[in-house]
């Protein structure tokens, strides 16, 4: 920190980056009003069906900026002026990264429905820092096995070993996000996702390479979803309700399993910016998203479906059936935490993932 402040190279770099960012912001900000709510979000929050009821009820315009990956999101914040943003959607495990940067405001627990959340997804270890809660889990799901039940034996999908067996060679796609799939590889070799260390990397790499040998492609959200939906592949490693539920009406053959070894639990949180100029409205927005109606709309957003973290979400019976709402207690009991490596281990994991992608 001190080194950074004294380093002339860093100072010059920061000044130049700041100048560039200021110009970019002037262009991007356009005609945003001070009363607007500015939200850094994932694509599921840009659904008009989710935003319009809030905007109409509060006579406010929600300006959204989508991003993928915490690094990209925090970079947008770095290049913005304090107060530009009011709320942010963030991987629950990454809430501490925002807190370390001094970005987030503690949330008033008494105004949010913490008692109604599935206890397993409160994620206190990451959403509470130094006794203060900075994030509230709004949506969760599983990185597990998504599959077409008319093309594969559903019984095989109860074991992660099927992913590396010859039976499904060339019929598999791998979701291109290293943390959850490394988590699945850990489960396959009998390791706990929360206990992964650098010493586990060789065994994890070997398991990933076995998966890659069987895979036809490694794709990001749209590519892997398309591959499963169009029949290009029959199995998606890392898939789950976020892939299959939204497509259930058009393709009821798509399903997901929680194999005997377990699955990786993903969860996304909402956080409020410390420098928000509109904290009251930001809190109202979080309250709306966490309300039974907001939760149902978020869970069934057009971008991707996922489980609402509020048990009282106003989902229809059909929607609950598609999300397998009633099976959640059993699923959650078998799910393991998203890997949350240190910065150094994170880098090594990403490099291992790069090596896996480049392997022929």
């Amino acid at each position: 920190m001190t080194t950074n402040a004294r380093n002339p190279l860093s100072t010059l770099k920061s000044s130049l980056a700041g100048a560039c960012a200021a110009v970019a912001l002037l262009i991007a900000a356009g005609g945003a009003k001070a009363a607007d709510l500015n939200a850094l979000i994932w694509c599921d929050h840009s659904d008009p069906a989710l935003l319009q009821p809030f905007e109409e009820a509060n006579n406010v315009k929600v300006n959204v900026k989508e991003f993928e990956g915490t690094g990209a999101g925090l970079a947008i914040v770095d290049q913005s002026q304090p107060g530009d943003w009011d709320v942010m959607v963030i991987d629950s495990i990454d809430v501490p990264r925002g807190v370390e940067k001094g970005l987030f405001e503690p949330l008033p627990e008494d105004k949010l429905p913490f008692a109604d959340l599935f206890p397993e997804v409160k994620m206190d270890k990451s959403t509470i820092v130094d006794g203060k809660r900075y994030g509230i889990t709004e949506k969760f799901g599983y990185n597990t096995i998504g599959f077409n039940k008319t093309k594969v034996d559903p019984a095989d999908m109860q074991s992660l070993a099927s992913l590396t067996s010859d039976k499904y060679k060339g019929k598999i796609a791998i979701y291109d996000y290293y943390l959850p799939v490394i988590g699945m590889a850990a489960l396959a070799i009998g390791k706990k996702t929360a206990d992964l260390t650098e010493a586990d990397l060789p065994a994890l790499k070997a398991e990933l390479l076995k998966m890659k040998t069987n895979a036809k492609l490694v794709g990001e959200v749209t590519a892997s979803q398309t591959a499963l939906a169009t029949g290009e592949v029959d199995i998606l490693v890392g898939g789950g309700e976020w892939v299959t539920a939204g497509l259930a009406k058009e393709n009821p053959a798509l399903d997901f399993s929680i194999p005997k070894e377990g699955a990786v639990l993903w969860s996304q949180s909402l956080a409020m910016f410390k420098d928000s100029k509109n904290k009251d409205m930001a809190l109202k927005f979080i309250e709306y998203i966490m309300s039974p109606e907001g939760q149902a709309r978020l869970a069934t957003s057009s971008c991707y479906w996922g489980m609402p973290s509020n048990k009282k979400a106003a989902l229809t019976d059909d929607q609950k059936k598609i999300l397998r709402f009633d099976e959640q207690p059993g699923f959650l009991a078998r799910a393991q935490a998203y890997p949350a490596p240190s910065a150094d281990l994170d880098k090594k994991m990403q490099d291992m993932w790069t090596a896996m992608l480049q392997a022929q």
Partner: protein
């Protein structure tokens, strides 16, 4: 006299100032920021060369550059081979009054979104896509071929785009070529093949190389086509750059990789410029 002289000097500067300011603001400053960023550590921001050394010491990283160069070379070569005859037909065989319409039809692919075009190719090349179905239905193959999510798919998507670009540059060059060169060669006894190889081809090389260079630059820096059509079964440089940003936000490493990529493009430009003398005096 002096006022007129001042004006004559000031006017060109006034005209060029907006372009200079634009370049300074949106190229030079960001480039300097990127260069400085590439020399800092992701954690702490101290000076380091580690971002560059990672590229040269990690086989997965330099493999991405090898992949980029291989894909770009294949795309450029195939595009030239397809575009030259096409441009020749347009310039020499299509009647003058139809040439404009023919050119417009030739560049139609440019009118569609790059992303949409790539996804369209994915549907054409997929296991249940047009090509596999056709080949299966006529009995040429028993099992679908894996065409999508391969380097072949990436090259196909690129070639579809760049053939049109090269056609335009070669067509323009062919149209500028005076017929008297060919007549003179014929008068001296050269046959059609000899005229093409010794007169037309050398004189249209600038058009080919301008198109080839543009193809090289656009292809080696493209992220979308390999991402959609390549299936991540191998990474090219722009994909490696994007990987550093997504979750970890490692802008220093991403900057170093981008600078290395720009260095390769610069070398390609210098090679083209020297070889064909396309720069203007």
């Amino acid at each position: 006299m002096s006022v007129a002289g001042d004006n004559s000097r000031a006017l060109p500067w006034a005209l060029v100032t907006p372009a200079l300011a634009w370049t300074l603001l949106f190229f030079v400053l960001p480039f300097i920021a990127m260069g400085l960023s590439s020399l800092t550590a992701h954690e702490g921001g101290a000076f380091t060369l580690a971002n560059y050394s990672q590229f040269f010491t990690d086989p997965s990283y330099w493999r991405a550059m090898v992949n980029s160069l291989e894909v770009t070379a294949i795309v450029t070569a195939v595009s030239i081979l397809l575009a030259y005859p096409f441009a020749w037909i347009l310039a020499e065989m299509v009647p003058e009054r139809w040439q404009r319409l023919a050119l417009m039809l030739a560049v139609l692919p440019f009118w569609t979104s790059y992303v949409v075009r790539s996804y369209s190719w994915l549907l054409v090349l997929a296991q249940n896509g047009v090509i596999n179905r056709a080949l299966t239905d006529i009995g040429l193959i028993g099992e679908p071929l894996q065409l999508a999510n391969t380097r072949f798919a990436t090259v196909t998507g690129f070639v579809h785009f760049f053939v049109m670009l090269l056609t335009l540059t070669i067509f323009a060059n062919l149209k500028q070529l005076s017929p008297s060169y060919r007549k003179a060669a014929a008068d001296l006894g050269a046959g059609p093949v000899r005229i093409f190889l010794h007169v037309v081809l050398p004189l249209t090389l600038p058009g080919i190389m301008v198109g080839a260079f543009l193809t090289f630059v656009l292809c080696i820096g493209d992220y979308i086509t390999p991402q959609i059509l390549g299936g991540n079964n191998e990474l090219v440089m722009p994909q490696l750059v994007m990987m550093q940003i997504g979750r970890r936000g490692d802008f220093p490493l991403a900057s170093a990789l981008s600078i290395i990529l720009m260095a390769v493009v610069t070398v390609a430009y210098l090679a083209c410029a020297r070889w064909l003398k396309i720069e203007r005096a």
